[in-house]
Amino acid sequence: MLPTPKTAPRVALFVTCLVDLYRPTVGFAALRLLRAAGCTVEVPPAQTCCGQPAYNSGDRADAAAIARALIPALEPYDYVVAPSGSCAGMIREHFAALFDDDPEWKQRAERLGARTFELVSFLVDVMGVERVAAAYDGTVTYHDSCSGLRELGIKAQPRALLATVAGLRLAEMEDAELCCGFGGTFCVKYPEISLRMVSDKVERIAATGADTLLAGDLGCLLNIAGRLTRLGREVKVRHVAEVLAGMAGEVPPIGQAKGG
C-alpha cells in the first residue's frame, strides 16, 4: 500500500544530474507540477547524482560513498521525487543493496527508498492527481523508459495525465517498451549496438506519424533526440513533465535551437 499523503507533504525535488546539466526546464516543470498537486517543494542544496554511473560500472565502493553523501541530504523530507524513473529507481530499489554489510546505513537507505518516487507516478499514485491544466497542440508518442517501466511499474500514469492535456493526441508506437539503447555508459562502450537499437526505436517513432516524442527519462531522450536530429527527422523530443506542466513553449525541443 502506498503512503497516505498529508495535506501538504514536504517534498524534496531530486533534480538528477542530467536535468541539472542539460535541461533545467524539466526541474522547473517538476516544481510546478508538484506545487499544483499541493506539495511543499524544496530543492536540497547538497544533492548531486544518484551514483548510477559507478554502480552500473561495478564500482560499488564509490556508489556507496555517493549514497552516503546523498541520503542525509534527502532524509529530512516526507518524500523524494525525481523527474526520472532511472534515478528514482536507483534510490528506491538499489541504495539499500549498497549497504549489505552496514545495517545502520541499510536501514536509512531502505527508509529513504520507500519514500522515493518518480515524478509522474508520484503525482498519480501518491497525490491522486487525475488531470493537469495544460494544452499541447500535437500528436505525441510515448516511449516507456526501462527502469521506470520494469522497476517502478510506470506505464499507465503518464498516459492517464497526457490524456487530460488539451489538444494532445497520443499515437502509440510499436514496441514502446523496447529499450532505446541508451543504457548509461553502454551507449559509449558499445556504440554500434546502441546505435542499432536507437535506430530501430527511431523507425518505430516515425511510423506513428507523431510530431512529438515524450518520455520520462532524460538519458533516453538525449539518445533518441540525438539520433532523430542526425537523421534530419522532424520529430520534436521533450520530457513528459514539460508538456504536463504546460512549459513546452518556454524552451525549444531537445536538440533544437531557439526558433529552429
Partner: protein, 475 residues
C-alpha cells in the same frame, strides 16, 4: 569450442554489418516474442506459476546433494548407471569410454547444450567415433561446421538459402538440381538422410531438460521426435545432464514443463515430451540395453552459496535472449562461446572466466526485459552487475574507465565541486551548440557522435537558475 568472447566488440560489429544475419534475426525477434506473449496471456495463473517454479528450484538448490543422491539411487534401481563428472574433461572421457565399450563407430545425438559446453563432438571425432546431430537445426550447423547461435534454435542465424546451400553441398549423392520449393522439401530430405543414420547408430546421446529424483527419469522436450529415435534405437543411451536439472517429483517436473514450453516457443507443451527411466525392461518393445547418465558439475556446485546461485534455476528456455535487444541486434555467435544472451552473460564468465568473458555482462543496457520474462524469475541484470563488480575489484576494467569514474565519484561526493563542474559543462556544451541546439562532433564522446548529434544543454544549470530565481523570490 573455440572461445571468441574476448573479441565480442569485433564480433558484434561484424554481425551488425552482415545483412543475411540481420534478416534472420529480424524474423526471430518478432516470432518468439509474439508467440510467448500469446501463450502467457492464455494462462491466467502464469505469474503464480513463475513464483512456484522459482520456489521449487530454490528448494532443490538448498538440498541439491539430497536430491542428486536420491535421483542416482532411483536410476540405479531402474537398471541405469550414473557417472558423476566433476569437469568437462571427466564427462568427455566417460562418454568415450562408454562408446568404446559398446564398440561404437557412430553416435546419434539429440540437441544438448551440455554436449556443446564440454566440446563433445570434437572429442568424439578425435576418438574415432562419428557424432551425428539429429535435431534439424543442429544437423545444419554441423554440416556448416559452426556452433549453435541460440540455445533452443541453434540455426536461427541462418536463412533458407543457407540451409539449401548446406544440403546441396553435403548430400552430394542426390541430384544437384533437385528443387527446394518449400520448407517441407528440406525437412523431407533431412528425414531421409537421417533415418539411415538413426538405424545404424551404436550409441544415442541426448541432453536432459529435467531429472526426476522420485523416479530416476530423465526428460527431454523436442518438436521433431528426433530425441525419441536417438534414445530408443541404439543399444546404448547416454544422457548428458548438469546437476541443477534435478527436481524432486513428477509433479514438480510438470510445473517446470508448463513454464518451459510457453516461455520458449509459446507452445502449451512441446510436441514430444519424453520420459526415460533406465534401459529396456523385460517385455518392453524397444529401448536401449544400457542407460547411462553423465551427471556434470563443471563449476556449478561452486556457484552455490554465492551471488550467482540464482542462475542455477535456469531451465534453458531462451526467453531472455529472445527478448534481449542486444542479442536481437548481434545474434548468438557474437557472444563467442556456447551460451549467448543474458543467461550467457551471467553463466559464461563462471564457466570460462570473467577475464575472457568480461564483455558479456557489460554489453547490456540493464533494460530488465530478460528478468521480466524469465520463467524462473532469475535476476539477470543484478548478476551481470555482480560480474562488473568482480571485474572492477580485480582491476580488469580499462584504466581510462577507472580513472574517469574515480574523478567523477570524487566530484559527486562534493556538492560544491559538482556545481562547478556541471556549470562548466553546461556552459561549454551550451556555447558549442548555441546556434543549432546540438553538437555534431565531440572528440571525447566519439562513440556518441558517430551516429547521433549531442543535444546542447540550455546553458545555465538547474541549480544555478534555481538559486538565481530564489534570491529574487521567483523560484
Amino acid at each position: 569450442m573455440h572461445i571468441t568472447s574476448p573479441a565480442f566488440k569485433d564480433n558484434a560489429r561484424a554481425a551488425l554489418a552482415d545483412p543475411g544475419l540481420q534478416r534472420a534475426l529480424a524474423n526471430a525477434r518478432t516470432g518468439f516474442v509474439a508467440k510467448r506473449a500469446r501463450a502467457v496471456a492464455a494462462l491466467p495463473e502464469f505469474e503464480a506459476l513463475r513464483e512456484e517454479g522459482r520456489d521449487l528450484k530454490n528448494h532443490v538448490l538448498a538440498h541439491l546433494d539430497f536430491y542428486l543422491e536420491a535421483y542416482a539411487r532411483a536410476v540405479e534401481a531402474a537398471g541405469g548407471r550414473v557417472h558423476w563428472c566433476e569437469t568437462a574433461e571427466d564427462a568427455r572421457r566417460t562418454v568415450v569410454e562408454i562408446c568404446r565399450a559398446a564398440g561404437a563407430r557412430t553416435a546419434t545425438k539429440g540437441k544438448s547444450m551440455i554436449a556443446e559446453e564440454i566440446g563433445l563432438n570434437d572429442h568424439l571425432s578425435a576418438s574415432g567415433i562419428e557424432p551425428i546431430e539429429t535435431d534439424l537445426g543442429e544437423y545444419i550447423i554441423q554440416l556448416r561446421k559452426e556452433p549453435p547461435s541460440h540455445i533452443i534454435a541453434p540455426a536461427i542465424h541462418l536463412n533458407r538459402e543457407d540451409w539449401i546451400e548446406a544440403f546441396r553441398t553435403a548430400h552430394a549423392h542426390l541430384p544437384p538440381d533437385r528443387p527446394f520449393a518449400e520448407r517441407k522439401a528440406l525437412i523431407d530430405e533431412a528425414r531421409s538422410v537421417l533415418r539411415a543414420r538413426f538405424l545404424a547408430a551404436d550409441v544415442g546421446i541426448t541432453g536432459a531438460n529435467l531429472l526426476i529424483a522420485e523416479t530416476g527419469s530423465s526428460v527431454i522436450v523436442t518438436n521433431e521426435g528426433n530425441g525419441d529415435l536417438t534414445q530408443t534405437l541404439p543399444k546404448v543411451h547416454i544422457v548428458l545432464a548438469s546437476i541443477e536439472k534435478v527436481v524432486p517429483t513428477l509433479e514438480d517436473a510438470c510445473t517446470i514443463l508448463r513454464l518451459l514450453a510457453r516461455s520458449a516457443t509459446g507452445q502449451e507443451v512441446s510436441t514430444y515430451t519424453t520420459f526415460s527411466t533406465g534401459p529396456r525392461r523385460e517385455g518392453d518393445l524397444d529401448g536401449p540395453a544400457e542407460y547411462h547418465v553423465i551427471l556434470l558439475d563443471n563449476g556449478r556446485s561452486a556457484m552455490l552459496g554465492t551471488g550467482f546461485q540464482d542462475m542455477l534455476r535456469c531451465i534453458r528456455c531462451a526467453a531472455c535472449m529472445n527478448h534481449c535487444p542486444v542479442y536481437g541486434a548481434v545474434g548468438g555467435h557474437a557472444y563467442g562461446w556456447v551460451y549467448p544472451g543474458p543467461m550467457g552473460a551471467v553463466l559464461t564468465p563462471t564457466l570460462i572466466g570473467v577475464d575472457k568473458a568480461g564483455h558479456l555482462p557489460n554489453a547490456s543496457t540493464f533494460c530488465g526485459r530478460c528478468e521480466s520474462v524469465c520463467p524462473m524469475k532469475i535476476p539477470l541484470p543484478k548478476m551481470m552487475r555482480h560480474w562488473r563488480e568482480r571485474e572492477f575489484e580485480r582491476h580488469l576494467s580499462p584504466a581510462a574507465t577507472r580513472w574517469g569514474l574515480g574523478l567523477w565519484a570524487w566530484v559527486a561526493q562534493r556538492p560544491w565541486a559538482y556545481r562547478l563542474a556541471a556549470r562548466a559543462g553546461a556552459l561549454t556544451l551550451g556555447w558549442l551548440g548555441r546556434k543549432r541546439g546540438r553538437v555534431s562532433s565531440l572528440p571525447l564522446a566519439r562513440g556518441w557522435t558517430e551516429g547521433r548529434e549531442m543535444p546542447a544543454p540550455e546553458g545555465e544549470t538547474f541549480h544555478a537558475r534555481y538559486r538565481r530565481l530564489a534570491k529574487r523570490g521567483l523560484a
